[in-house]
Amino acid sequence: MPLRQRSVRNAVVSMNSVPLLSVMIWLPALGALVVLALPRQNVAAQRGVSLGAALLALAAAVGVALFFNPAHAGFQLVERVAWVPSWGISYTVSVDGISLWLVVLTAFLTPIALAASWGTVERQERAFHALVLLLASGLFGVFTAQDMLLFYVFFEFTLVPTALLIGIWGGAERRYAAIKFFAYTFSGSVFLLLGIIGLYLLHGQATGVYTFDIATILASLQLGALRLDTGAERLIFGLFFIGFAIKAPIWPFHTWMTTAHAEAPSSGVVDIIGLLIKIGAYGLIRFNVQLFPAAAAWAAPAVGVLAVIGILYAAWIAYQQTDMKRLLAYASVSHVGLIVLGIFALNTQGIAGAVAHMVNSALTTGALFLVVGMLVARRGSRELKAFGGLWKTMPWLGSLTLLLALGSIGLPGLNGFVSEFTVLQGSWRSPGLGWRYTLPAILGVVFAAVYLLHMYRTAFMGETLPELARAPDVRPRELALLIALATPVVVLGLYPNALFGPMQQSVTQIAQGTLPYLASR
């Protein structure tokens, strides 16, 4: 493989010639091909191969994290291969402090999600595993792509497996949910593509260098080689914003997400790696804030309003739900509101808190989706009314769920608190937002406690329903999965610096980019 290690802006940690990022991206896809080639009946081998591929990708991701140098702000571990040189399109992958976390998160959640699906897939298990692995490949690609077009390719690439997973193995309304998911996200991505091409052309016309490389464009913008006039910048910002707002999803574009969550396969696979890992929010940081700080500062108050409405509205609707998956879906929309609020605080705390909250909410909400999956497997229903007094028959599940729910609510000492607090602090201190935004957001955090504890109380407290009297407690595999998810919830809560340390430089750099525009307000 003709591979060239190259520093883009800052010095890059020298590394041997193993293209670690590419290995990580393509291992799951390779695993998918192997799985498809296995005999249909040999389910054990299919599970083994897919889990193995996911674990190897996790190992590669750990390797990436080890080689990552937190002292540098820019893109690191760059791997570059020319793809369409005449157009300035290249296969360039790299990580910075922000994408590193999402990469690690994806790598961590994929094997868990795969193992959680065992025994819940009634038909065509082979195809199911292959699609999950393809999805993981796509996600890795999205978070590491340093070329805008490559990013777009991976962005689209994640759509098809997710839609198929929902559409084939989902709940009763799965067809509608899959089509809605695909239609919404794809229409959003068309705007994204327009934005990408617009930026590409403007950059090419201004500097003579036609390239899709984000680092190059960023450098041109920062050095003043490319000056966008206000109108053009806002237009392109808007195109990117629509694409990512739909994907994130920001209220009022969220309706596809709650349907998708509700109808996704009950084991929680898609919920975790298809929907909870926040491509949209990542894109907002990577493109909207990093590339167009002036337009971001201009739009911050308006986006902040959308975010706050999202937090409160989704929390309120979540409380009204009788269906547990829908409840968690709205909870996750509410979390997205908080993440977006943090991003558009445009300061170090806000953005760092937002990235941390992407990780934390994916961990806790994902774990709760798994719990619901386990409950559905035992009861055959997602309705909250169908459960009661579970703690008596399932003490292990009861106590772990409580821990996870408290983590999601933001109890101090657990991970959710750290990131929520940082986001709220950031938004309060942001000149663009201020306390008017923070106070209602805090209210939303209180709501979160209400709806989650409400769900917990109904399902786990009270009299045990007779149908559930003999429900078996968690099996060893399920216990292992829950503990794997609960561990970071506690660890990151007690030692948040592990979360913030590696991203500090990158976040600071992005936040500094917006400073001149915020100061001028």
């Binding site: 369409v84 065509q124 195809a127 198929l164 799965r174």
Partner: protein
């Protein structure tokens, strides 16, 4: 410019096609076939195999001759000398030269086109071999080859009369092929409709030519010369400059020529035959008709407009109407809108793809608009985008119509409803169709994405921004009906779940086209270099 014996090798692939066509016809006619079904099967198989082998051979000859892959080294006394000498001789007839008194251009442009058509005919033959052919297989394959010959001459023609003859050769063969299933309800109707439309259009085309001829003669007389017989595109181009380029006679002739070719490329408003014919013709013929035939029309139109009417190029901006780029811009506008919107309510898969292919014709026209720019680099880029789109489109549509051919054969229907739950019945076919459909929709990293991307860029650089915007919106609209395929195949419940097998030959054709679509998507550079060379030659 006179006839030279060295011109013969330059048109070797065409001569070989002619010979192959006669061979296929002859071997079928001259053999005494039994009456039983087994004998008929044998008969169809023989004709098909002969055609496939012959086309494959001609493809290889064309490929070696074009020097796209390699230049054969000088013989050096090794055991392979015979082959090397053969290769050297073939490549001596490579790009360059102007055989048949300059009426036939054997440049890279022709070579790319020729390979596309022969390749498409080869894949179509494979599809047809997997399809139940009832009667007269020799005629079927023979006509297919003659039609390929016609297309290949169409793309190479640089003279009006030869272009017309080539157009007729390819069209007349296709009329018969479209009506080939005599017992079926729709096929003869398709043949007849296609014939009526085609003959009317070629009359219009011919009338356009005569007007252009009159223009050249009168211009020449004005200049004090005698009215000469000038039917070469470049001769017309020489006269059609400056003030003369806006002469009503010339413009009228040009409009007639565009209208006459419009049916071949099925752009709105000359498209109305397409849905009926695509739906009614034998499925492998539809695959051929919607791809190679359309590509040939585009290439001829492109070469004709750019060499005969460079003076009347005009501007594609809709607000100031002038020249043929304006005409094409308007056609493109109506075509993308009508084609994509009309596809929405269709329930028959082939009819749906027919409208989608009309929509694609609109996207293709965008690439030609950039000719309004004076920079050769821009023009070359537009041409390259056009050729790339045509090749990708040919592969994708051949594959997807091939899948529909297999379905029609196995399920007896090509309604979208019949495709429900296909993944449980034939996984490979479903996967292939999914990839092909996603490529048609323009999802990266498949070839269809790059094709659209390049074409939109060309349109944008030509200054047709509103048009490109509408085309982008129509891409989103098109997604809706492409999704219906995926929905039917993957998500809707299957009325029946018994698996069925794809005939191996048809499967090979479908897999080859799908793999190429993926490959060209992952590595668009694979053919872009070659195409750029061809394009820069054509843009000179």
């Amino acid at each position: 410019m006179s006839f030279q014996i060295t011109d013969i090798p330059r048109i070797l692939p065409e001569l070989m096609l002619l010979l192959l066509g006669l061979m296929v016809l002859g071997s079928d006619v001259l053999t005494r076939w039994g009456r039983g079904p087994q004998a008929q099967l044998e008969r169809a198989r023989e004709a098909g195999q002969l055609t496939a082998i012959g086309l494959g051979l001609i493809f290889i000859v064309g490929l070696v001759q074009s020097r796209f892959l390699f230049t054969v080294p000088d013989p050096s006394g090794g055991p392979l000398d015979v082959l090397l000498t053969l290769g050297r001789n073939l490549q001596a007839g490579g790009p360059g030269g102007s055989p048949i008194l300059g009426a036939f251009a054997t440049d890279e442009f022709t070579m790319v086109a020729r390979l596309t058509f022969i390749g498409a005919a080869f894949l179509t033959t494979l599809l047809a071999m997997g399809y139940r052919l009832t009667a007269n297989p020799g005629e079927f394959y023979g006509l297919l080859i003659f039609s390929t010959l016609g297309m290949s001459i169409m793309a190479a023609a640089t003279e009006f009369i030869l272009a017309y003859l080539a157009l007729e050769l390819s069209s007349i063969s296709l009329y018969v092929l479209a009506g080939y299933f005599r017992e079926s309800e729709r096929s003869p109707e398709a043949g007849l409709k296609y014939f009526l439309f085609g003959s009317l259009s070629s009359a219009i085309f011919l009338y356009g030519i005569s007007l252009v001829y009159g223009f050249v003669a009168s211009e020449n007389q004005k200049a004090g010369g005698t009215p000469i017989v000038a039917t070469l595109f470049s001769e017309v181009g020489r006269f059609a400059t400056g003030d003369a380029a806006s002469s009503p006679l010339l413009i009228l002739g040009m409009l007639f020529v565009i209208a006459g070719l419009g049916y071949k490329i099925s752009v709105v408003p000359f498209h109305t035959w397409a849905p009926d014919v695509y739906q009614g013709a034998p499925p492998p013929v539809t695959a051929f008709l919607s791809t190679a035939s359309k590509a040939a029309g585009f290439l001829l139109l492109y070469r004709l407009l750019t060499t005969a009417f460079p003076g009347a190029v005009g501007t594609p901006r809709l607000e100031e109407f002038s020249g043929w780029t304006s005409v094409l811009a308007i056609l493109a506008l109506v075509t993308v809108i009508v084609g994509n919107l009309a596809a929405l309510p269709q329930t028959n898969a082939r009819r749906l793809l027919a409208y989608s292919s009309i929509g694609h014709a609109g996207f293709l026209l965008l690439a030609a608009l950039i000719w309004s720019s004076t920079s050769p680099a821009d023009r070359a880029f537009g041409t390259a985008a056009l050729i790339y789109y045509l090749i990708v489109y040919t592969l994708t549509n051949l594959g997807s119509f091939g899948v529909l051919a297999v379905l029609t054969n196995a399920l007896g229907s090509d309604d979208l409803g019949a495709m429900q739950g296909l993944w449980q019945r034939n996984m490979v076919l479903t996967l292939m169709m999914t990839i092909l459909i996603l490529s048609l929709a323009g999802i990266p990293p498949l070839a269809g994405f790059w094709a659209k991307f390049f074409v939109f860029m060309a349109g944008y650089q030509a200054g047709a921004v509103p048009l490109v915007t509408i085309a982008v919106i129509m891409t989103v609209v098109s997604l809706y009906y492409y999704l219906r395929f995926l929905k039917a195949m993957w998500i809707l419940p299957a009325p029946e779940t018994t698996p069925f097998k794809t005939p191996p030959v048809a499967n090979a054709a479908i897999i080859v086209s799908t793999v190429l679509v993926v490959l060209l998507g992952l590595l668009p550079n694979l053919i872009w270099g070659t195409i750029s060379t061809a394009a820069s030659v054509a843009a000179r």
